[in-house]
Point group: C2
Chain length 470, copies 2
């Protein structure tokens, strides 16, 4: 239309009339959208089932690591919850998942006759770690603050000792995820790098924004290219790490005794749970939102990522209960095994590819059930530009930024296939206080915060379905 006007094809009067109608149409459409979005948020804030769904998942099922009986219960629950939300169909996508079990509670004992200390430290084995078995291991401790320091110390200082990665979560970062990203490599790769120099076990300071006594678990990986030897590895609480540092200053000869009883069993069969509403116009084009169903065994997986699962399920309920018929098929995906393997995310990607399913867009919500902040949107295929235009529709609802680049671990395989991905960003200040701990429980969920973020996802799905084409 703009081109025709520019070329002087029509008289100024005709141009004015055309412009008037363009403005009118846009303004009516924008009014309709803003009125529908008000209804959507109203639904979420007053009638949705996100909170009660999450209460069940977190408190009745609780921790649900891949391969566990609780994960199996969670699959059944998710299927039921999706049907109750109004899914036209629920697909169970099979995947084989790692099956790591913690076994009997870990022990980590700090002993220093010189400092008159013999103390059980709050600790937890890291996912995928081998166990020491009941005999345990005991050794002197070498404190390391960076990879560079480890290299410098080398075999001479490390051999036969327990390496203690004393790397702090940098509180000066505004986004706590940045601090997490800086410290988490020590959890993931620390064991093999320490084993390379002959360490007998590996301890990390918990990746936490809170100076408390909770140990934070999380996955680790053995890198056989770095070292063929696998050593037991665990996290100790922030306060335990402080005590260890303090005691080391008094007594370089102190010892740590570690007993972990974890082990990796054979891979187990499991599933992604995919709830779907069929599109009225383009049923073979999919818009998906997902969170992960598995959660660490020590807590209830309320924020990580029960919140994302119930927010995703509620998108189906929102369309159904408000009587909005989506043009495209809408899917809520409860991914399995995000925490320690990504088997579910990979299985979904392969399924989509094998079945040649056209995915218009994929959103992941896996940063806790806090107040909304932003959408991070891939710049491919015009989606970012479109979502940016809608920003003013979201600002009244406290979602105030649309940023370039988005996605998440579970939808990573879709991103590789060229699907435009969106990462949902809630407020991150409190997330790493409780992330991967026994404190990630339902009582930490705030109903209005959970629903305001769920509403942002619901409203975005309404708009993408209505306006986005490729």
């Amino acid at each position: 239309m703009f081109t025709l006007i520019k070329k002087g094809f029509w008289s100024p009067d005709v141009k004015a009339i055309i412009l008037f109608f363009i403005i009118l149409t846009n303004s009516v459409s924008s009014q309709t959208d803003s009125s529908t979005i008000k209804k959507i948020y109203n639904y979420y804030l007053t009638k949705s089932n996100t909170y009660s769904n999450l209460e069940y998942l977190a408190t009745k099922i609780g921790g649900r690591l891949s391969g566990s009986p609780e994960a199996e219960l969670a699959v059944k629950w998710a299927k039921k919850a999706m049907y109750e939300a109004g899914a036209d169909t629920v697909i169970l996508q099979p995947c084989m998942v790692p099956h790591w079990v913690r076994g009997k509670k870990e022990k980590c004992v700090l002993s220093s006759p010189k400092a008159n200390i013999n103390k059980l430290l709050n600790c937890c084995a890291l996912g995928n770690s081998i166990g020491t078995g009941p005999a345990g291991v005991r050794g002197k401790v070498i404190e390391v603050r960076s990879w560079e320091e480890l290299e410098k110390l080398g075999e001479k200082e490390v051999k036969g000792k327990v390496v203690f990665y004393n790397v702090f979560f940098d509180q000066s970062h505004v986004r706590t995820g940045t601090a997490y990203g800086e410290t988490v490599p020590y959890r993931g790769k620390g064991a093999s790098k320490a084993a390379k120099y002959g360490a007998i076990a590996c301890i990390v300071r918990s990746m936490t924004s809170l100076a408390d006594d909770e140990p934070h678990t999380g996955n680790m990986n053995y890198d056989t290219a770095v070292s063929k030897i696998k050593i037991a590895t665990l996290a100790i609480s922030y306060k335990a790490a402080d005590l260890l540092v303090e005691t080391l200053q008094k007594d370089k000869e102190l010892t740590i005794f570690i007993e972990t009883n974890c082990e990796t069993l054979p891979d187990a069969p499991s599933f992604n749970v995919v709830g779907q509403i069929f599109g009225s116009e383009k049923p073979n084009e999919y818009i998906i939102t997902g969170g992960h169903l598995d959660a660490w065994d020590n807590g209830q997986g309320a924020h990580d990522d029960g919140a994302g699962v119930v927010q995703s399920i509620e998108v189906l309920a929102m369309f159904k209960k408000l009587g909005i018929k989506p043009k495209h098929s809408i899917r809520a995906v409860a991914f399995m095994n995000e925490e320690n393997g990504l088997a579910g995310g990979n299985a979904y990607g392969k399924w989509a590819q094998d079945k040649k399913e056209k995915h218009l867009a994929a959103l992941e919500t896996d940063a806790g059930g806090f107040s909304p902040r932003a959408f991070g949107v891939d710049t491919v295929k015009g989606l970012y530009a479109l979502v940016s235009k809608w920003k003013s529709l979201f600002t009244p609802y406290m979602l105030e930024r649309v940023e370039k680049g988005g996605g998440g671990a579970d939808i990573g395989p879709l991103a590789k296939q060229g699907v435009p991905c969106i990462g949902f960003e809630p407020d991150t200040q409190r997330y790493f206080d409780i992330h991967h701990t026994a404190q990630d429980t339902f009582d930490k969920i705030h109903k209005r915060e959970l629903n305001l973020s769920a509403g942002a996802i619901g409203a975005l799905f309404y708009l993408i379905d209505k306006y986005y084409n490729q």
Copy 2:
């Protein structure tokens, strides 16, 4: 500059050079600002005393209603804390405050022989209410859902009864303050309006975003123009209100017994506490930030408004500890008596007027110590336009909106004098869960959230001081 270029006064080359220097200067200045602001936030997130100051105020002093011994302790504490923060001087501004005391714990008993209920309801007298005394009052209950309903019922239905304002906090509002604003008139004016029709006492459903068993106090006023008769008035918890509604449906003849022992003593002398750093260039021009020092007696006044007080004090510390010498005088004001009288806010306004102090700008922080969201800025004297320009300096720190219109109750008198006022807006989702209850305690404060908001105020003060002139 733009006009000259437009008029073709200089050649294109000269224009280009001039433009280059404009861009260069702006960009250097903006780089300096963004680097200083990074330092400011870094200070707040890693070194500030906001959290420890608030811990002391909330847990060692606790509830501190105007006229109480705790309020007196809080005045002494604030003076000390301001000097410790680096204030060049601390002024105690006298004011006479209302002195209402709760007295012996209230009782509110619901009795229905028909429904087999005789139950003590969780309740609290409202500030400024008269007490029933130990004899108490007993009466049948008439439920009212709006002013219109009260008018319709009239004397015929109301006389001799206890009026129960059963008005819900509307959860569909995005900002919880909107819902509070809708319901709070029933707390403030309900008693006199009920007394007009012969009610013997008045009960309100707590103004709360949480369906729990905590009663929320707050101030009320008797309006002698509406009724000369003063009746006792109290709030019951959300759950108690639900029980009352439910029981009324079974038994219209049920009775409520109310015993409150509150009373209003003679006005008491008190103070605003004003900490000041002298400006290096314009010491007689003031930029002030304030919160209120008084807090309801039932809780610790952590979010309301210990948070605002310590955030304000920390602005002084930030300038001093980072070695930034402000051009104008900077004041942190701990206002007295915001909760039940505004004597402190009025005294400050009068002081400023009497002394002909030029106030460049005034900020109030009194919405809880949560994550930052926005500045609301008065459009007078160019401040809004200026702050809007700085928006991009704040977005990396999660303060994402600059809105028109700002201020607060305590700086209201300054606004009337034409001082441009700013209201600081944190995230509001959790505030009215605990507002005016026994649950407004220090453990509800999140250190990073408190400091990120404090940092926004600190950074804004740095910019206003540097760039704002009238």
